[in-house]
Symmetry: C3
Subunit: 196 residues, 3 copies
Amino acid sequence: MSMYLHPQALCESDQVGEGTRIWAFAHIMRGAVIGRDCNIGGGTFVESGAVIGDRVTIKNQVMLWDGIHIHDDAFIGPGVIFCNDKFPRSPRMPEVAHRYDNPANWRDSTIIKRGATVGAGAVILAGLTIGQFAMVGAGAVVTRDVRPHELVVGNPAKWAGWVCACGRRLSREMTCPVCAKVFRIDDDKPIDASIR
Amino acid sequence: MSMYLHPQALCESDQVGEGTRIWAFAHIMRGAVIGRDCNIGGGTFVESGAVIGDRVTIKNQVMLWDGIHIHDDAFIGPGVIFCNDKFPRSPRMPEVAHRYDNPANWRDSTIIKRGATVGAGAVILAGLTIGQFAMVGAGAVVTRDVRPHELVVGNPAKWAGWVCACGRRLSREMTCPVCAKVFRIDDDKPIDASIR
Amino acid sequence: MSMYLHPQALCESDQVGEGTRIWAFAHIMRGAVIGRDCNIGGGTFVESGAVIGDRVTIKNQVMLWDGIHIHDDAFIGPGVIFCNDKFPRSPRMPEVAHRYDNPANWRDSTIIKRGATVGAGAVILAGLTIGQFAMVGAGAVVTRDVRPHELVVGNPAKWAGWVCACGRRLSREMTCPVCAKVFRIDDDKPIDASIR
């Protein structure tokens, strides 16, 4: 088994894991790193310096810039927008050209942790961390870190509940209606209470 | 007269109607159904299981998933985002892989009714119906059904007025300033009062 | 030196300036005008009638319609959405087909002035002007004109501060923490006080 590359996709990276599929009009640049058993949707762009773990799903028309790290099992919905510059200007504008001489001056990283979901069309500002199993609602604009298992929605995105690893919203008693898992709040975030 | 396919478009479906035009870098999958006299913009993706009526305009870079139904004469603006899963996770994540064994477990349909508009960059959550001649404002995030002739804007999208079939906002007296049509509210939605 | 065209890009315009680079799956239509030293990201679409100045950065997957004017040194983030019709309907719908016989009936212009930034994933409604050195935050939905040096965020986008030409937010005393430039408010907008 090796990777699948659609005939209309471009892949210049030699660091794509086995079992990963890359669909039409996607473009993976040299130096991008993609793990095993990923699905990279049509039209998606992965820049040099982006790093993607295993079993990740990237839906269509996502752009992953230098400095974006997607951990194992994350789901990035269609049309999700990432940023890697907090004060973007055109790099060739004379007033700011010096800032763009060195990526250390402007480039900011974002981390999507294991099993998290970024919903369709969401926008994630530069320099943030989305916690393990978090869920960013479709169309949300995320301006701060998101805690593990946290559900956020809106513009700017705000707390709207907690979700299980499976994606369902927890009840007020912090149990999953599907998995029947019980969570407890520890250090301001939910912990699976069955794990000791 | 038959369909027009741009040399850089991909069309694997044999169910595309006469007079329909499909532009560069669009990708129509096998099993997708598209009616007559449609315009499918560049970069748009139509998945197996999506169904599009006649005279529909789909602008560039839209993604139409399995379960999305677009009725006759609808307008889908550029970059509109649809969803078909209410609790998306990466299907190969061990914690949820069983859910994705059967589409019936996760796939939800969305219907855009005749003559409706979904404005540029709007996000439509899974499982919703947008009524006939409704208008979803640009950038809106739609989390509930939209009534016929209803204008909604914002995140989450809320009622902001009523519109005529032509797209103009109705006056307080429920008349169209352009068409001079008069509407009356019937069962919580506007009805063209000239139709008996 | 002349322009660079990626082998997978399409350029039908003969009005692209020297030093401009156009990346994979971008499509520039005949009649589009692009200045010198621009960077046109992958998947971007530039329609006949769009006009782009010099040293402009257009990131990936932007669509620039007929009537969109981007002045020198502007930055258009990834996935930014423009509009050029305030009451969009499918042009072949019988109820509105006459409106689309003549572009003067429906087409509206948008101007992005020199050095302005439109952040990632923002939506700009039809018929607006974004002032010189303004900054539209990522994910904002802009429904009114934006003043020079104004920062706007949210849906709908609202005033959130003033920014320097370099992109940094000005202090309450209207000074830039990086450039040390001092601004004064004149006619409801900031003016660089060192310019006489």
